[in-house]
Structures are given as structure tokens and as C-alpha cells.
């Protein structure tokens, strides 16, 4: 019963906020804050009641008719994975509103309307089980974000918003074609034309068709993730967006791509995914290493953090194509902790920008002296970025790499080189901003109460996931085993089928034992 309300509250809240914006900006902010907090509380209730659901695949479901003639229905469902994603969504949503409290001063009503509708789109993406509805929400995320970047962004915002929109829209259309293709194939096979996910799982498709359809889905998800070489929209979009925009982009939108891969691309097309896996892993490793290389050379702070996103999301692609439970746990963990750590870095960038009015690293330096609290936050989240144990990112990277190692030693080793690269660029961030000589003169104040609360909450989260990740891994474990099970059951290949340089389900230990004798 809750699920559709989660979305509706956001939609309604957006409209009310827009109207309220005509009278008073403060009212707008509070209305949008209350809206997201309400949804957050609802999701927390779902989390707390988790135990009640037992072994059911879906914790909550909601079905309604929409266009029955075409087999389109409104089908929302929640499992461990979507639950975690929703908690993340509303958490980040609250932070986004808090962060833009002082930053957005013009047109605040429309701003919050867009913000809330983006969140609604993201929520819908995480909840939809009907492919048509999924696409609908996928597109719903785009337009408000385009406005967000284009109206309240920085100098180059028009270019960035266009780039973002065209990239994601074009790839989304390819996905839509694939959805329609799948719909038709399934209808041809069984006579039942439907967009329902559960019924579409296990459709028999000819290999060539399966590749094509998967390619369509992959187009959208790889662009969203982003995978090199489709990543070019990201630096511009992240840099030019206002802080709340960057936060939502980095923390949530990128994760929708990862979610799509896990929920749709792999289970719906198991054989094609298996065949694609080496390519997927190569994309992952390339993303990690190329992203790190690009990060190092940047002089614009937000652009630098944006490229670290490219690098970190490479781990996700790598893990998704490893097809084992350990790697998937790492991937889900990475989705959450990357959101927190990169989000925090963007917030810090925004805070620095508010004080210094520059994003140019060469004009900063020696900031620790006047802002030790901000400096420690920057240091902490840079350490998270490089994967320091004790913080959540280490758990994520370790699980992902360990899982990938079980599947392919080569790719795991190459990806581990990314750890060294991450160190190089993370330390550069800290050094250029907080240490060293001052490159310009300025007088600034340290974190305000509001900012300290935001940062504090993120610190606690990242420490919690680093030191006690069990709640997260336990919540998502049933969902992951379902997904891997779906993949293996639907796939027609025998276990242990080799493809290229990658060794699969044939467990590594046995191979290694063979080496021993």
C-alpha cells in the first residue's frame, strides 16, 4: 500500500512547493523538506518491518491497470535492493534540500518542483516492475534535471544541460526500442503481449535477437553509469550543475544505471550477458583506470570529483559482470558508499565555492588553517575515495574485487591498479586545497551548524558502512540470490561454459588445486 504513495507524495509535494514559491522561498524549502522527510520515514518503517516478509521475493507490491489492451500496467514492487536504494534516495534528497538552502535564491519554487520530480522519477525507476512504466520514470528523471542544470547552473550550463539531455535521451530511446522488441518477441512466443517483468523473465529469444535487445538496454544503462566511452556527459553535467544537482546526479542517477543492469539487463538476457561479460569487465577496468588518469590532470575541483565518479563506477560494471554473490554484494555496497562519499565531496566543493567563488584548484591552498573542520571532512572523504579501510568504500571495493577475483584473476588485478591511481588523485585533492601555500588571499569561516549537520550525518554513515556493513549486506542478500538464480535458471548454457579469457562458475579453487599437483 505504501509504494504508490511514495511517488505520489513527491509529485504532489513538488506542485505545492512550486505554488508556495510564488509567495515565500522559505515556505518552499520547508515544504519540500517535509515531503522528502515523510517519504524517508515511510521507507524506514519498511526497513524496520523487514523481518516480517520472510522469504518472499517481493516485500511489497502494488498493481493497478493502466492500458490493459497493450499489457501495460502499473506494477510497483520492493525487495531488499530497491529498499536500500530508496533509503539512499530519500536520504540524499534531504541532504540536497539542505545543501541548497542558501545556494538557490532565484525561482526557488520551480527549483524545488524540479528537485522533487527528479526524486519521484528515481523512486519510480527503483520500484517499477512493468517495463513501460520503468521507461516512463526513466524519462521523467531527465527533464527536471535538464532544467536544474540549465537554469541554476554555472557558467557553461546550457552546453552541459544539452549534452546531458541528448546523451541520456538518445540512449533511453534505444532502450525503449529494445523494450518494444522484447514485448513483441514475448508476445510472438506466448501470445501474451505484456510489459510485465516477471512474465518477461525467461522469454526464449534467438541469440542474435537477444544480443540486439540487450544492446538496447545496455545503451541506456552504460550511458547512465557511465561507462567509458559513453561518459562524456558526466564531467560537464556535474561541474555546471548547482550543488544539489551534482549531488543528485552523482549519488542517485548514476545508481539507476547500475540498478538497471542488475535488475533488467542481466536477468532478462542471461546468455547474452554471459557472452558480453568479458567486454563488460574490460569496460569496467577501462573506466577505473582511464577515469583515474583523467582525474589527476583536472584543475577544476568539481570536474575532478566528477571524474572520480567515472572511476568508481568502473568497479560496479566490473562487479556486475562477475556474476557471483560476493561481487554483487560489493556492487550494491559500492552504489551506496559511492553516493555518500562522492556526494560529500561535491557538497564540500559547493561549500568551498560559496566561500571562495572559485573552483580552480590552482587558486586554493592552505585552507586548513582557517577551516580545519571542513579540511578534516575533505580529508576523510578523500580517504574514503581511495578506499581506506574503516570507511565504507573499502568494504565495497574489497567485496567487488574479491568476487571478481573468483571469476577472473586478470581483471581483478588490473582493477586493483586502480587503487594506486585513486591514492594519487585523492591525495592531490587534499594537498591542493587544504595544505601547502595559500595561492590567494581570503578570509573565510568554517562550517556553519547546518553544514556541520549535513557533513556529520554523512561521516556517520560512511563509518557505519565501513565498520558494520552487516545490515546492508543482510538486507540485500535475498534479492541478490534471486537475481543470480534468475540468471542461472533462465540461461540455457551449461554451467562452467568458458567464454574467452574469463573463467566462470567452475570455481577457482579447483582450478588452483589443479595447479598445485
Amino acid at each position: 500500500m505504501i509504494l504508490q504513495h511514495l511517488i505520489l507524495i513527491l509529485l504532489a509535494g513538488g506542485i505545492i512547493a512550486w505554488i508556495a514559491g510564488k509567495w515565500s522561498p522559505i515556505a518552499t524549502r520547508f515544504i519540500s523538506l517535509i515531503t522528502v522527510v515523510t517519504d524517508f520515514i515511510l521507507v524506514l518503517i519498511l526497513l524496520i518491518n523487514q523481518g516480517e516478509y520472510g522469504q518472499k521475493q517481493w516485500m511489497e507490491e502494488f498493481t493497478a491497470l493502466w492500458i490493459p489492451q497493450f499489457g501495460i500496467g502499473i506494477h510497483l514492487a520492493l525487495d531488499g535492493l530497491s529498499l536500500l536504494m530508496l533509503i539512499l534516495t530519500f536520504f540524499i534528497g534531504i541532504l540536497a534540500i539542505l545543501v541548497s538552502w542558501k545556494e538557490i535564491t532565484s525561482n526557488t519554487g520551480f527549483f524545488h518542483f524540479n528537485l522533487l520530480w527528479i526524486l519521484a522519477g528515481i523512486t519510480g525507476v527503483f520500484l517499477s516492475l512493468d517495463l513501460f512504466l520503468f521507461y516512463f520514470f526513466w524519462e521523467l528523471m531527465l527533464v527536471p534535471m535538464y532544467f536544474l542544470i540549465g537554469i541554476w547552473g554555472h557558467e557553461n550550463r546550457i552546453y552541459a544541460s544539452y549534452k546531458f539531455f541528448i546523451f541520456t535521451q538518445a540512449s533511453g530511446l534505444l532502450m525503449f526500442l529494445a523494450i518494444l522488441g522484447l514485448y513483441l518477441v514475448h508476445g510472438n512466443n506466448t501470445g501474451n503481449y505484456t510489459f510485465n517483468y516477471q512474465q518477461l523473465l525467461g522469454t526464449t529469444i534467438s541469440p542474435a535477437m537477444e544480443w540486439l535487445l540487450m544492446a538496447g538496454f545496455l545503451a541506456a544503462f552504460l550511458v547512465k553509469l557511465p561507462a567509458v566511452p559513453f561518459h562524456n556527459w558526466l564531467p560537464d553535467a556535474h561541474t555546471e550543475a548547482p550543488t544539489a544537482g551534482s549531488l543528485i546526479l552523482a549519488a542517485l542517477m548514476l545508481k539507476t544505471g547500475a540498478y538497471g543492469l542488475i535488475r533488467f539487463a542481466v536477468p532478462l538476457f542471461p546468455d547474452a550477458s554471459t557472452a558480453f561479460a568479458p567486454v563488460g569487465m574490460i569496460l569496467g577496468v577501462t573506466g577505473i583506470l582511464y577515469g583515474a588518469k583523467l582525474t589527476y590532470a583536472q584543475t577544476d575541483l568539481k570536474r575532478l570529483v566528477a571524474y572520480t565518479s567515472v572511476s568508481h563506477m568502473g568497479f560496479i560494471i566490473l562487479g556486475v559482470y562477475a556474476f557471483n554473490e560476493l561481487a554483487y554484494q560489493g556492487v550494491v555496497m559500492q552504489m551506496i558508499v559511492h553516493a555518500i562519499s562522492t556526494g560529500a565531496l561535491f557538497i564540500i566543493a559547493g561549500q568551498i565555492y560559496e566561500r571562495l567563488h572559485t573552483r580552480d584548484l590552482n587558486r586554493m591552498g592552505g585552507l586548513w588553517e582557517q577551516m580545519p573542520a571542513l579540511g578534516s571532512m575533505g580529508l576523510l572523504f578523500s580517504m574514503a575515495s581511495l578506499g581506506l579501510p574503516g570507511l565504507g568504500n573499502f568494504i565495497a571495493e574489497f567485496l567487488t574485487l574479491a568476487g571478481t577475483f573468483q571469476t577472473s584473476i586478470l581483471f581483478a588485478t588490473l582493477a586493483s591498479l586502480g587503487l594506486i591511481a585513486a591514492t594519487v588523485y585523492s591525495l592531490r585533492i587534499v594537498q591542493k586545497i587544504f595544505f601547502g601555500r595559500k595561492e590567494s588571499e581570503y578570509v573565510t569561516n568554517d562550517l556553519s551548524v547546518r553544514e556541520a549537520v549535513v557533513m556529520g550525518v554523512m561521516v556517520i554513515t560512511i563509518l557505519f558502512t565501513g565498520l558494520y556493513p552487516k545490515p546492508v549486506t543482510d538486507t540485500v542478500a535475498p534479492a541478490i540470490s534471486n537475481i543470480i538464480g534468475a540468471k542461472e535458471n533462465q540461461g540455457r548454457s551449461e554451467p562452467g561454459r568458458q567464454s574467452g579469457a574469463v573463467i566462470y562458475i567452475e570455481t577457482l579453487p579447483e582450478k588452483l588445486k589443479g595447479l598445485n599437483n
Binding site: 579501510p389 567485496l399 586493483s416 594519487v424 595544505f435 565498520l467
Partner: protein
């Protein structure tokens, strides 16, 4: 009491939290008491636990203190649990005891610094992480401590952050050790995939059961772990960061870069010795690396002019001895040398720090001199430390620990005489560069006047460490001097004994030889540096000296091989060439737009013409079909 093992690492960590969050609000005295007190308390706990452990050994020889389950997913489990056995006892003792002394010293040393509370926060975090490292019962938790000390090392080297060079040194340290850490984590993956667990005791058991000696997997995983150890312990080829790390305050150099963090590699290899013994080729590699490093570093130390850099290279060299010991199977000897080295090296660094501090941050030994009369207490402690380092026979602890290694180097079954030769040459170098340092700094005419005398708080740790540097060795004496095997007895059953070959007892001869070498080094130093011989002055300007001064050119080599290519690589593609693809697509589209939009020229007649042509074309098609 023994179940309170977990308090040992937790106390400094708690103190870190409090100082980090509230340090600026608390008065300096409170921060000092908290910082010093937490480590001192941990030391007391260690000693108490140790006494309890030794007097009534627990059933399995270890105490396990489990806190909670850290990770449990997909068949992988890792706990936050602490293992207390003789090895961790020794390491904890050194870390907490020497650490407490250094913290006490720092109270006075850092008293004028603005970052007083920041310093103690970092130091406590370091001690906590190091204790986690040595107490961890599984390799993942060990890795947490491992990275934690790396972080604190970075923060403390670059402590005086306003100076960009310090930041550079800090980053260099972090990055070089990270390279080793990445090798280590690959080793962890390999071990996990092979055995499904990272719990140390389980791993060691499984490895000895399932892997034959010399199996490729054992060799690879041992090599990978060795990579990590090399990074943290600053051995060849990852040793370049340690000399530059001297940019940090002297207490930092004493604690991290002499006594504890750099010995983490020694701890790791000793802790997983079962694995290493399954890979004899790796053991040989360790011994050779240790031997070569101790020589390379010894020569480099001889050429340095910065007081702390001499000590830094000396540390690299002494850890080389520990690696040599481990490589020939003399496990407890390596740990023994670690403990004694911690005493005298920390002492040397603290005294050096006092000298530098009192001379207003003068680092160059050639601008010091004659401090024997001006700073007598510091001179005596420095002398004692130097004597121990040079292994002055019988009266210094260093003699017993180093001599044990030399003896095993000669007589161990898996060793070779070449290793012994390297060791004894290193001993000559050691006493040479040590007394060069002492003669130039403390004798002769005073070039810089000390600003004031050191206070009691700084002097007490020096005295305590000096005493330990003298008497610490008496718990483990070779057979012919007096049968004391308290230290190695600790490890009976834990660490395998060295297997000696039956070549008769040359021990006395070797001891005399090492004594001769030590005194020879002192005499040489006297001739060359106290008397300032012409040879020494000519040598100072020679090419070979400059080569040694630069640490055998490793920095230049790495700059050429790694640093410059990386910088070049990141510069060439700053704008990301893939962007060009999309920019060109957009460009092409715009181009076509420009072309096609010329048809919209607003001329009526043009439109009608086009209309007509279109109609004609359509009609043609319709008619033809």
C-alpha cells in the same frame, strides 16, 4: 583480565576521537594527559596481560578476544577479533611502551606548536591502528590497521602542512607504500579464493595441509604479501619514501619510522611464517633483499649530512637485518632485533630531535659540533644509542641482537656465508656512519649555539630508553656468554627454531670478529672524521659520494620510470579525446543544419519552386509504379 585485550587498541582510539572532536576546546594540558595517558594505560594493560599470559599460559597458547562480526556475506566472514600470543605480546609491548615514552617527550617537544591537539590526535590514531594491526586475528583486520598506520604516517609526515615539500614527502610515502599494499591485497584475494577465509590461524593450518612446499600458489601469495611488507618496511625496491619522511617532527620519526610502522612488514612475515616456509624461494628472496638493502642503506647513511637522514637510512639498514634474519629462518632473532632496535633507534631519533629543536631547527651535522659540553645529557644518551646501534660488545643490547643474527647467518642451514659477509660488512658500515655522526655532531668546535636546555619531560624518556638500550639484551644471550634464552623461550612452539648445520661451534670466533669490526669502525670514524683527514675531505666531493648521498640514485630512477611518464600521460589527454567524438557529431549536425537551413530563405518563389519539383517527383513515382 585477559579478556580485556580489546581495551589495548581501543583506549588510544577513544582518545583520538575525543581529541579530534573536542581538541580545540580543551586546554593543552588536558590534551596532553589524554594523549599520553591513553597510550600509557595501554602499556600498563599490555604488561599486566603479558604477565598473566606468561605466568599461566592459556590452553591453546593464545587468547582470543572477539568483539563482533564485521563482515558476513556470500560465504566470507571476517571478525573484529584480537589474538594475543607471544608475538603480539612483544609487539604490543614495544608499541605501547616506547609509544608512551615518545608521547611524553612530545608534550614538551610540540608545546609551542599551534597544531598541538592535532598532533596528539594523529599520534593516538596511529598507535590505535598499529595495535589493531598486531592484534588482528584475520588478515582483513590486519589490513585495516595496515592502512590506518599508512594514513597516520601521511598525516604526520605532512604535519607542518604549510610547507609544500612536506606535503610532497607525505604523498610520496603514502603512494609508495600503497603500491606495496596493492600487492598485499592481491595476495589476500588469492588466499581467500584458495581457502575461503582470511582468519590467520585457519589460513596457516589450511595452507600447511593443502599446499606442498614450493607450490606455485604458495610462492605467489607469499610474494604478494612480501610486496606489502617491502613497502611498509622500506626495503628495496620500495625504500625511497623513508628518508624524505624525515620532514615530519622527530617524535613521528621515532615512533613511526623507527620503532613501529616500518616494522609492520616484519610482523606480517613473522605472523604468516607458515606460508613463507612453504615457499623457500621466497625466503631466499627475503634474505637477499634484506642483505642487499642493509648494504645499500649503510653506504647511503655514510654520505648524509642531515642528522635525521643518517638515522633514516640506518633504520632501513637495520630492518634489512631483520629481513635477513627472517629469510634464514631465524624468526625469534628477527623479532628480538626488532625490539632492541626500537629502543635504541627511538632513543637516537628523540635525542636527534632534541638537538635539532635546541639548535633552532638546524639539521646539518656539519653546522653542529662541540655539543658534548653544551648538551651533556643528550650527548650521553645519544652515545649510548649509537653504541647499541653499532653493537658494542657485551655492554649494549644491540650487540646481543645483532650478533644473534650474524651467528645464524653463518650457521643456519638455509643461509649462506655470503649473507653473513654482507651482515658483517654492514656492521662495519654501521659503526662507521654512527660514529661519524657522533664525532661531527658532538665533538669539535661549536658552529651553532643551543638556544636553551631541554626540560625534564623530554629527558626522562631519553634516559629510560638509554637504560633499555643497554640492559635490554640481557634476556637473550648466546650460549658461550651465559645461557639466557628468555626471549626465544617465549616463542617455543610458536616460531620454529633455526636449524643449524653441524659445522662446529664457531660462535666465539664470530663474536670476536664482530667486536673487532665494531671497534674498527669506531677507529676509522675517529681517523676520518674526528681528525678530519684529507682523504675524507676529498671523498666528500667525489662522484661516488654523491651517488651514495642520493640513496644510490633510486629517486632519479623512479622519477624517470614512473613519475614523469605518469605526469606526461595525464597531461596529454587532459581534455579527454573521447569528447572529440561527441563534439564532432554535434559539429556535423550543426554543419548540416547550416546547409539545410539555407532552404528557409523566406523567398516565396523559392518555396513554390520546391513545391513544384516535389509534386513532379511524386507524380513520377506514382506513375511509374
Amino acid at each position: 583480565m585477559t579478556t580485556l585485550i580489546w581495551l589495548i587498541p581501543v583506549l588510544p582510539l577513544l582518545s583520538f576521537l575525543i581529541i579530534a572532536l573536542f581538541g580545540r576546546l580543551l586546554p593543552k594540558k588536558a590534551v596532553a594527559i589524554l594523549g599520553f595517558g591513553s597510550v600509557a594505560l595501554s602499556a600498563v594493560l599490555t604488561i599486566v596481560a603479558g604477565i598473566g599470559f606468561l605466568s599461566s599460559p592459556p590452553p591453546e597458547g593464545v587468547i582470543l578476544s572477539k568483539i563482533y562480526t564485521w563482515i558476513e556475506t556470500a560465504g566470507f566472514t571476517a571478525q573484529i577479533a584480537f589474538l594475543f600470543d607471544p608475538l603480539s605480546l612483544v609487539f604490543c609491548f614495544v608499541i605501547t611502551f616506547v609509544g608512551a615514552l615518545i608521547h611524553l617527550y612530545s608534550i614538551e617537544f610540540m608545546s609551542d606548536d599551534d597544531g598541538f591537539s592535532r598532533f596528539f590526535a594523529y599520534m593516538n590514531l596511529f598507535v590505535g591502528s598499529m595495535l589493531i594491526l598486531v592484534l588482528a586475528d584475520n588478515l582483513l583486520l590486519l589490513y585495516l590497521g595496515w592502512e590506518g598506520v599508512g594514513l597516520c604516517s601521511y598525516l604526520l609526515i605532512g604535519f607542518w602542512y604549510k610547507e609544500p615539500d612536506n606535503g610532497y614527502a607525505a604523498r610520496k610515502a603514502f603512494i609508495v607504500t600503497r603500491i606495496g599494499d596493492t600487492a598485499m591485497i592481491l595476495g589476500l584475494f588469492l588466499l581467500f579464493v584458495s581457502f575461503g577465509t582470511l582468519d590467520i590461524s585457519d589460513l596457516m593450518q589450511d595452507a600447511s595441509e593443502k599446499w606442498v612446499t614450493g607450490s606455485p600458489l604458495a610462492v605467489i601469495s607469499a610474494l604478494l604479501l612480501l610486496g606489502g611488507a617491502l613497502g611498509k618496511s622500506a626495503q628495496l625496491p620500495l625504500q625511497t619514501w623513508l628518508p624524505d619522511a624525515m620532514a615530519g617532527p622527530s617524535p613521528v620519526s621515532a615512533l613511526i619510522h623507527a620503532a613501529t610502522m616500518v616494522t609492520a612488514g616484519v610482523y606480517l612475515i613473522t605472523r604468516t611464517h607458515v606460508l613463507f616456509m612453504l615457499a623457500p624461494v621466497v625466503m631466499t628472496a627475503i634474505a637477499i633483499i634484506g642483505a642487499v638493502t642493509l648494504l645499500v642503506a649503510g653506504f647511503s647513511a655514510l654520505a648524509q649530512t642531515d642528522l635525521k637522514r643518517v638515522l633514516a637510512y640506518s633504520t632501513i639498514s637495520q630492518i634489512g637485518y631483520m629481513f635477513l634474519a627472517m629469510g634464514i629462518g631465524a624468526w625469534s632473532a628477527g623479532v628480538f632485533h626488532f625490539m632492541i632496535h626500537a629502543f635504541f633507534k627511538a632513543l637516537l631519533f628523540l635525542s636527534a630531535g632534541a638537538v635539532i629543536h635546541l639548535l633552532n631547527h638546524e639539521h646539518d651535522i656539519f653546522r653542529m659540533g662541540g655539543l658534548r659540553k653544551k648538551l651533556p645529557v643528550i650527548y650521553i644518551t645519544f652515545l649510548i644509542g649509537g653504541a647499541s646501534l653499532s653493537a658494542l660488545p657485551l655492554i649494549t643490547a644491540g650487540f646481543y641482537s645483532k650478533d644473534q643474527i650474524l651467528w645464524f647467518g653463518w650457521s643456519s642451514v638455509i643461509s649462506s656465508h655470503w649473507l653473513w659477509l654482507a651482515g658483517i660488512t654492514g656492521a662495519l658500515l654501521t659503526s662507521l656512519y654512527t660514529f661519524r655522526m657522533i664525532f661531527i655532531t658532538f665533538f669539535g668546535e661549536t658552529k651553532t649555539e643551543p638556544a636553551h636546555k631541554s626540560g625534564l619531560i623530554m629527558t626522562i624518556p631519553l634516559i629510560v630508553l638509554a637504560v633499555l638500550s643497554l640492559v635490554g639484551g640481557f634476556i637473550e644471550m648466546p650460549e658461550n656468554i651465559g645461557p639466557m634464552h628468555l626471549f626465544s623461550g617465549l616463542f617455543d612452539g610458536f616460531l620454529p627454531d633455526v636449524i643449524l648445520n653441524e659445522r662446529g661451534n664457531h660462535e666465539l670466533i664470530l663474536q670476536i670478529l664482530s667486536g673487532v669490526v665494531t671497534f674498527g669502525g669506531i677507529w676509522l670514524a675517529y681517523r676520518l672524521f674526528y681528525k678530519k683527514s684529507a682523504f675524507a675531505i676529498r671523498y666528500k666531493e667525489s662522484r661516488i659520494n654523491k651517488f651514495f648521498y642520493s640513496g644510490w640514485g633510486f629517486d632519479r630512477l623512479y622519477a624517470l620510470l614512473f613519475v614523469r611518464p605518469t605526469a606526461w600521460l595525464s597531461e596529454i589527454d587532459k581534455k579527454d579525446f573521447i569528447d572529440l567524438i561527441y563534439k564532432n557529431i554535434a559539429g556535423v549536425t550543426v554543419y548540416f543544419n547550416l546547409i539545410v537551413s539555407r532552404t528557409q530563405n523566406g523567398k516565396l518563389r523559392w518555396y513554390v519552386l520546391v513545391l513544384t519539383i516535389g509534386i513532379v517527383v511524386i507524380l513520377t513515382f506514382m506513375i511509374s509504379l
